[in-house]
């Protein structure tokens, strides 16, 4: 097997408060291959965005990576000195944030921002960088880029600004793009265009994409594989069709059951009782056990480790083969 572009091994992220250490990410592992799109879903606070920030080394204090390893194409990057990490950000890992309206500096022309980023990472003359910026804007679908390049961010619509943000993320041909809820702030018709654009760019350049979202529709449409996160852990990970059609983890089942369908008869949407625990009050054993209909004694005591089930991996005691499969 070829080397994955991004590889997380037992990553842990902690936030130190005055009273205690809160573990926002508690031992997650996954790989993203070249050209692959991995979706990361979960409720707010499940640790999706923190995972993205951890990969680019942008966790704000008091948060810090407390354990585990991050590898980018074989290079360990979680313990690099800040200046080395800075050179990787923007060059080898591109990032797209949620809100395009606030991601761009309002006082600089978009062209200047793109040229600045290109020239930070690639030795290029001003003119060459400008030409490249125009090409990039054309590639992300901005009409009349040679004119628009001199515009200020406020002269662009939300969708157009997100295209500019994407152009900025890909301007140094990164191996990996981390898109942190790139469509949440956009309206639905624009969402589809942006998703199609990210997908196309990933395919054309062989870029690996980590797509953080809580929109299952976006996941189904875009991703090759999907990781379902709950309380800083991965509940289930696998090929997108398998996880959507045949979710294994009770939480994943609940999540898929909560997607409204157009063909659906007038049934009530499935609802998972309760809400995700606060970081300071994660129960022992499986963090999902207080809300889980299938929980038994072991779930309250022992933390489930991922169990391989075909192409899917699921962290749930129900699938432990040493146990008789009675409840699955």
């Amino acid at each position: 097997m070829t080397q994955p572009v991004l590889s997380l091994r037992n990553l842990q992220v902690e936030f130190k408060t005055r009273r205690e250490r809160l573990r926002a990410i508690d031992g997650i592992s996954f790989d993203i291959a070249k050209g692959e799109v991995l979706g990361v879903v979960g409720e707010s606070g499940a640790g999706k965005s923190v995972t993205g920030s951890a990969v680019v080394g942008l966790i704000d204090p008091p948060g810090r990576i407390a354990g585990g390893e991050i590898h980018l194409s074989g290079l360990r990057i979680d313990n690099l000195p800040p200046e080395e990490m800075r050179k990787i950000r923007g060059k080898r890992i591109g990032m797209i944030f949620q809100d395009p309206l606030t991601s761009l500096n309002p006082l600089y022309r978009i062209g200047d921002q793109i040229v600045e980023t290109i020239r930070t990472h690639i030795g290029m003359s001003e003119q060459a960088a400008r030409k490249r910026a125009i090409d990039l804007l054309a590639e992300v679908g901005i009409p009349a880029p040679e004119k628009r390049i001199d515009g200020y961010p406020h002269e662009f619509s939300g969708g157009m600004r997100q295209r500019v943000v994407i152009a900025l993320a890909i301007c140094a041909e990164p191996e990996l793009i981390i898109a942190d809820e790139p469509t949440t702030a956009l309206d639905v018709s624009v969402q589809a265009q942006i998703i199609a654009l990210i997908k196309r760019l990933g395919r054309d350049h062989g870029t690996a994409v980590m797509l953080v979202t809580h929109d299952m529709g976006v996941i189904a449409e875009t991703c090759d594989r999907v990781a379902v996160m709950y309380s800083g852990r991965i509940a289930e990970i696998g090929p997108v069709q398998d996880v959507i059609r045949n979710p294994l983890h009770p939480y994943a089942k609940g999540l898929m059951g909560a997607i409204p369908t157009l063909t659906g008869e007038d049934l009530r949407l499935v609802q998972i009782p309760g809400s995700m625990p606060r970081l300071s009050a994660i129960p022992p054993g499986c963090p999902f056990n207080p809300r889980c209909a299938f929980a038994f004694e072991r779930c309250r005591v022992e933390r489930p480790e991922p169990i391989q089930r075909g192409a899917q991996a699921v962290a749930c005691h129900l699938y432990d083969s040493s146990l008789k499969e009675s409840a699955a």
Binding site: L58, R86, M95, F97, T102, L107, V165, A169
Partner: protein
């Protein structure tokens, strides 16, 4: 853009008219100017003649129009104490005040921005905390006290700097400058520090607060994610966004610097407009007081206008809203 500038200029003229009315009222309510010009044994007929020649028996509206027309041409009448045209007196004193105020403002901006940026970026260092402490002193100590302390230390005890006056000045046309001689520069140091200290601490605190605010924004986070250097992020992206409010405050404060100069000029016997004004108050020299009022207002209004226009240079979003008024 042009329409915006014109509109702001018309507003400025309105403000100046209002100030003119107040200045004019000072003459009306502070005694009869004729009585102040003539001696006790002047006959009533002569007084009437003077009154007529000065246009003081005209209806009040005509008189005001007259006053304002003169003021617009910088004719403010004759000083009671010096028997010289007020305009000439102001012209003679203005360079001293403007040099002092400009010097103080530059000092305040340079050190205020440097210290503000430093204390925002290196929040927990000892030096940043020292800056915070200094700024507290600068904000709370009254100007005259700082001036007197400086004089005590550097003039009386150490004998390094002159305690009063402008030193030697050089005439360039009608403008007299102290910037070209050593003694002039030495004399400028302490008054500038005294006058600029308050502004400096104000700017420093403003820059620090704004900078901390800007560093938390999404576009700074995104700039980090793009892998820009720390220097580019702090001094390119963050500082420029910090400067908009700093320009406003510094600009508007320039007017107060000139007004506050009254105290500093008195402490250091600086031969500027402020000292002239204090002397005028002591001698009830109304033409000078009225003219000073008009001049300071004119400076305030002009600065406001310039600041408004400068905004649009720094912030492109304002250019758009101005050229397309809602």
């Amino acid at each position: 853009m042009l329409a915006f500038t014109l509109r702001r200029m018309i507003q400025a003229i309105g403000v100046m008219l209002a100030v003119g009315i107040i200045a004019f009222a000072m003459f009306r309510f502070a005694g009869d100017p004729v009585n102040q010009m003539v001696s006790i044994d002047t006959s009533a007929a002569e007084r009437a003649a003077i009154r007529k020649s000065l246009g003081l028996d005209d209806p009040i509206i005509v008189e005001f129009a007259h006053y304002f027309a003169n003021a617009a041409q910088f004719k403010f009448g004759v000083s009671y104490q010096f028997r010289l045209p007020v305009a000439d007196l102001l012209k003679e004193r203005m360079p001293a005040t403007l040099e002092l105020a400009t010097c103080a403002t530059i000092l305040a901006m340079v050190f205020g921005i440097l210290m503000g940026v430093y204390s925002a970026l290196r929040r927990d260092t000892l030096l940043a905390k020292a800056f915070q402490a200094i700024s507290l002193i600068g904000i709370s100590l009254p100007t005259f006290l700082i001036g007197i302390l400086l004089i005590y230390l550097f003039s009386v005890t150490l004998g390094w700097l002159p305690s009063f006056g402008r030193g030697e000045v050089v005439k360039i046309g009608w403008w007299s400058t102290g910037l070209l001689t050593l003694s002039g520069l030495k004399a400028l140091i302490m008054p500038s520090i005294t006058l600029g200290l308050f502004q400096m601490t104000l700017i420093m605190r403003l820059v620090r607060a704004e900078m901390l605010e800007v560093l938390r924004t999404d576009y700074i986070r995104f700039a980090r994610a793009r892998g820009l250097t720390t220097r580019a992020i702090h001094f390119g992206h963050a500082l420029k966004n910090t400067l908009v409010p700093v320009i406003t405050v510094t600009g508007l404060q320039f007017g107060s610097v000139i007004a506050f100069a009254i105290i500093t000029e008195t402490v250091f016997q600086w031969p500027g407009m402020g000292l002239l004004f204090v002397q005028a108050v002591q001698n009830v020299d109304i033409p000078i007081m009225a003219a000073y009022l008009l001049m300071v207002s004119l400076i305030f209004v002009t600065i406001n206008l310039v600041v408004d226009i400068l905004y649009t240079v720094v912030d492109p979003r304002l250019r758009a809203t101005i050229s397309r008024p809602a």
